[in-house]
């Protein structure tokens, strides 16, 4: 997989740590397909998203469960008109998104959340398509093959892969083994495997051996670059009792 290293900085062995966002995103270009981890604003790679918005790359196909909020997260890419096609399950909470969608400036492919998660999982696992009952008889199934198994109807859904996956984890070792924290895991592990180049922005980087091998969520084989991030961790709906 020599192609995986293209555009990345020279490195020694399995040390995947890069020190700047520019290195982390080397090779990221116009027209690429990019997966971005997170559920709402929970578990998003904040610094990577911000850097992409500053790079000004355009015509992106963006795969992410949501589209951020106005002025934060993927809302920044919307502001800079960087997304040509958005693949997501739920895009509320974002006035600019609405405007770009209604004006036709941006194409939106709404995908059921579980189907989206499985399309990404399958992509990373080398499975080109799968059947699911989700969406049968709805607009989601229009134009897709359907088939009966054991008396029930299923829809054929094709898997997804990306040129870059931008994900967020809690802890990484320098070899790219990752551990996530609480519900900040969400789409990040599947996206790690589905990216040709996967960049993990993390809260803490430790030496190999410091993470318990039995507790690793994402094995380092899926991760190409690791960068220490700083996170604002904005909350969308602060609810207390």
């Amino acid at each position: 997989m020599a192609a995986k290293l293209e555009g990345s900085s020279p490195r020694k062995g399995f040390n995947k740590v890069v020190s700047t966002y520019q290195e982390a995103l080397a090779g990221f270009a116009d027209g690429m397909t990019v997966m971005v981890g997170g559920f709402g604003l929970c578990g998003i790679p904040e610094g990577l998203i911000k850097t992409v918005s500053e790079m000004g790359v355009k015509n992106l196909t963006c795969i992410s469960n949501n589209a951020g909020v106005d002025g934060f997260g993927l809302g920044l890419w919307l502001e800079h008109r960087q997304i040509k096609t958005m693949i997501a399950s739920y895009v509320g909470e974002n006035a600019l998104f609405e405007q770009l969608f209604l004006s036709g400036e941006m194409q939106v492919i709404l995908t059921p959340q579980g189907t989206l998660a499985e399309k990404i999982r399958a992509g990373g696992a080398g499975i080109p398509a799968f059947y699911t009952a989700t969406g049968y008889g709805t607009v989601v199934a229009e134009g897709k093959d359907t088939r009966e198994f054991n008396g029930r109807m299923y829809v054929l859904e094709e898997s997804l892969r990306a040129d870059f996956s931008l994900i967020r984890a809690w802890k990484a070792d320098t070899m790219g083994n990752l551990i996530y924290r609480k519900t900040a895991m969400n789409f990040n592990p599947m996206m790690a495997a589905a990216g040709k180049i996967t960049v993990a922005e993390v809260e803490e980087i430790v030496q190999p051996g410091e993470l318990n091998p039995e507790h690793i969520h994402t094995p380092g084989i899926y991760v190409d670059r690791v960068i220490q991030g700083t996170f604002e961790k904005r909350i969308e709906q602060r609810t207390t009792r």
């Binding site: 559920f39 709404l110 059921p112 895991m185 709906q237 609810t239 009792r241």
Partner: protein, 220 residues
């Protein structure tokens, strides 16, 4: 008297059984967690990757990395676990969740449900709703029986874009508890003080009315 949102949730909570894994949708379904019958244990699944969702946090407990599917800050109960979205929907699609409670705009007597899109209004997306209705063995729909203009939302055929087909089994509205059997809604219970005639008038679908239709019991 038609039921309040809280009372609909209270009635649905009576369907919870000891040991159930339950997914609650946004809106009225979320309120069901406030009325768990005494003496039983249930665990709430949140499709963003949490099994064992607890109440909202105190100000000190607020954690941006711990939210529910409505993106609200929550807590996790003792014995809870976290997992990826793919794992979460394996649970849902694989039929491992015992009960799903969700809201709807319309349901019909073919078991179809419309809950995610009103043409002409902004489409925000289906989120996990299509997966939940396709995957759950046991679905209870919490909804208003009719709209403000008095038009039934319990229909012969849904008019809005569907979320799923042939999946609705039980419906709890502000007026009644209905169960779908062989393409017809059976009137199981009526809200206290609501007449059978009123329910019939506000139900477009075929309705089977037994000789005796008890009033719902809402006290815990």
């Amino acid at each position: 008297m038609s039921l309040s949102r809280e009372q609909i949730a209270q009635r649905i909570a009576q369907e919870l059984k000891d040991g159930y894994y339950v997914n609650l949708g946004i809106g009225i379904p979320t309120l069901v967690a406030n009325y768990i019958p005494k003496g039983i244990e249930v665990l709430f699944q949140s499709e963003n990757g949490l099994l064992g969702m607890g109440p909202f946090p105190t100000e000190d407990e607020v954690d941006p990395d711990l939210i529910n599917a409505g993106k609200q800050t929550v807590t996790a109960v003792t014995g809870a676990c976290f997992f990826s979205s793919a794992e979460s929907f394996a649970m849902i699609r694989g039929g491992h969740v015992d009960l799903t409670v969700l809201g709807a705009f319309e349901v019909d007597q073919e078991g179809n449900i419309a809950s995610w899109m009103i043409p002409g209004k902004l489409v925000k997306g289906m989120g996990g709703a299509m997966d939940l209705v396709a995957g759950a063995e046991n679905i209870i729909v919490a909804m208003a029986h009719a709209n403000k203009a008095g038009e039934s939302k319990i229909l012969k055929k849904c008019t809005l874009p569907l979320t799923g087909v042939n999946c609705v089994k039980k419906v709890v509205t502000d007026l009644a508890v209905l169960e779908l059997k062989d393409g017809k809604f059976q009137l199981l219970e009526r809200a206290p003080g609501v007449s059978i005639e009123e329910i019939q008038r506000l139900t477009e679908a075929n309705l089977i009315i037994p000789d005796h239709v008890p009033e719902m019991r809402l006290s815990a």
